[in-house]
Amino acid sequence: MNSSGKKTNYLNASHTLSSWFLTVDHKRIAILYLITISIFFFIGGLFAALIRLELLTPAGDLFKSDEYNKLFTLHGIVMIFFFLIPSVPAVLGNFLIPIMIGAKDLAFPRINLLSWYIYVIGATLATLAIMVGGVDTGWTFYTPYSTVYSNGAVALTIVGAFITGFSSILTGLNFLVTIHKMRAPGMTWFRLPLFVWAHYATSLIMVLATPVLASALFLLFLERVFHIGIFNPALGGDPVLFQHLFWFYSHPAVYIMILPSMGVMSELFAAFSRKRIFGYEFVACSSLAIAILGFFVWGHHMFVSGQSMYAGMVFSVLSFLVAIPSAVKAFNWSATLYKGSISYETPMLYAFGFIGLFTIGGLTGLFLSTMAVDVHVHDTYFVVAHFHYIMVGGVLMGYLGGLHYWWPKITGRLYPEAWAKLSALLVFVGFNLTFFPQFLLGYMGMPRRYHMYPEEFQVLNVCSSLGASVLGIGYFLPLVYFLWSLKFGKESPANPWGAKGLEWEIQSPPTTHNFDEIPVVTEEAYAYAKEDGKHHG
């Protein structure tokens, strides 16, 4: 207790600006990330809104085609590199991993702060690139367009993405070492919360895949700025090599985004069913399986890029295999519900939403890894719908569900439940209304990345734009009531959900060092007693 009678915690421990910008506390760094990635989420969302506005009508009446090229490029770059990749790991992972394993901080607190600064520098450069003219290559930077022909600020954007990559590498490295070396006594590998397992698998990808993107962007930069031939066919180079290097990172990157959200899901399903997660070991190992398999499927992005047919067949089969560990998770979560005492608070609504959207996204992924089908729907809205179901439907449901679930722990305040339920509903309905029509559009042959389309596609496009408005409101609401709750929300007890886990055994918000004494762990992560459910109202 400090003099004012309020408990000391990591938020009110000190108030100076430098105590935030020079902090090495993983929880404060998580807050710094939360603020910065939220800004980029709304910037990326603004680009999406403009895209949907343009696509209301078949004619290209709002933007010229090269402006539209910049819009979808910037939407992709901002959302992927500056929001989705850091989202769950850098905010929730950063905040929770040390607490969940009974440690006082990540293994390398200063490197943790460094990775935030690296992120900010990279993001600032990319923002600068937007302001000096933007970039129109698509987020994939395919050569030779990106190196020879594009007039946009390609080099600056590449430098931004390159630098941000190191933030991701350092975060992954920090998590790996922390999970290996900082676990409290008794916290064995198979007592770890599944959230931690998911982040372990994610960190492996961050550490092993991101450097390859860095290298590919480095070569791209050399070719673009110094006119050194590397991928340029005019000098004997091979543009497909760039695609290989790019997707060697960028496919696993999808799992960097989705795995942490799956980790959140495991926590939510156990907590709101008041039950041990079904098949714990399988859920834990399926994260690793997804991470490992994810390294061997990148060629499915290149079925029509002139890659050998036999390579395509192998990549196709390997891509199918990813469905197995993914289904293991979905089935185990569903089985966890069985005979659980389920309650429908907001985080659980997001969890149910996740299952629905992720299942659709996952199953349409099987369509796309079938080569013959892929040739038909390649580069159409079918692909756009598919990856939004995973990367927005999946990742964002997990992120928002997790944010609601741990908000009382992070801030010490309860958010308004009714508003939160409304927003969860709006997000789910709005999302489906936005992206389900895009499956149909793509199947009928509407290509992605055009600002004009034939008249017969208008009805579905209007549905999609309408859905995007609903979705926008659904995403905007949490921003409002989360901020509101900081001042007016009810104070949260240590464990408002009656959930298991070390994070719920310490005060809300935690003290700077999390634990006064390093805890000794004597039970597994989801040791819900049978009768626990009955007490819960």
Binding site: P109, L219, L235, L245
Partner: protein
């Protein structure tokens, strides 16, 4: 539990004991080096792809590199690994003098390497072998030779950049050693720097034959 650490103790607040801190540093460094392998790995992949596409051009272009300077630099770098290892050893025995002496030797050898590299680069510049608009390689006018030199500069350039970072790190270590930060119980930073330095050397051990020795067996 961590004691409220007096200024001298190298134990950081969030570790329970020095062994845990040492283990974490070591694992962190190895994990970092693995990321470095993948970082260079993409370049090696590009090298493999293009060498298979243009074997003759790669042979002709490779024969144009200065094998004497390359071999000399290889020897210099191996010697620097020896002095780095001696510095780590001095750290384990608690000899601050030994650390500083050997780190200075490592810096000297590393700088010799970079100096020789600069001489090689300037030769290439005068011979119009730097890829770009002014590139010309009359010995083998077909496609592929420019790619070889692109990769030569990208790979050796990235390697040299790592050397520069390493040398900066060595200077910082000398500063820490001079302040008496290392003793028999604690010389982890020297050891970690050693891992990094050896890694950068090993990269060169691969670069040298791949770039300089493509057709030398004829």
């Amino acid at each position: 539990m961590a004691k409220t650490s007096d200024k001298k103790s190298p134990l950081q607040h969030h570790f329970v004991h020095l062994n845990q801190q040492y283990d974490a540093s070591q694992m962190g460094m190895w994990a970092f080096l693995i990321t470095e392998i993948l970082f260079f790995g993409a370049l090696f992949t590009a090298y493999i792809v293009y060498r298979l596409m243009y074997p003759a051009a790669f042979g002709a272009a490779s024969s144009h590199l200065d094998i004497t300077l390359g071999a000399f630099n290889t020897a210099v770098l191996i010697a620097s690994s020896l002095t780095m290892a001696l510095a780590v050893h001095a750290g384990h025995t608690g000899s601050t003098r030994g650390i500083i002496k050997n780190l200075i030797w490592t810096i000297v050898l590393g700088s010799v390497f970079l100096g020789v590299k600069a001489i090689e680069y300037s030769h290439k510049f005068h011979e119009h072998l730097v890829p770009g608009p002014s590139f010309s390689f009359p010995l083998y006018p077909g496609a592929g030779s420019e790619l070889f030199f692109s990769l030569y500069f990208a790979m050796t350039g990235l390697h040299a950049f790592h050397m520069v970072i390493g040398i900066i790190g060595l200077f910082i270590l000398i500063g820490m050693a001079a302040k008496g930060r290392f003793n028999q119980e604690y010389s982890t930073p020297v050891e970690m720097m050693g891992l990094y330095w050896h890694f950068v050397d090993i990269v060169w051990i691969f670069l040298f034959p791949l770039l300089y020795l493509v057709l030398r067996h004829h």
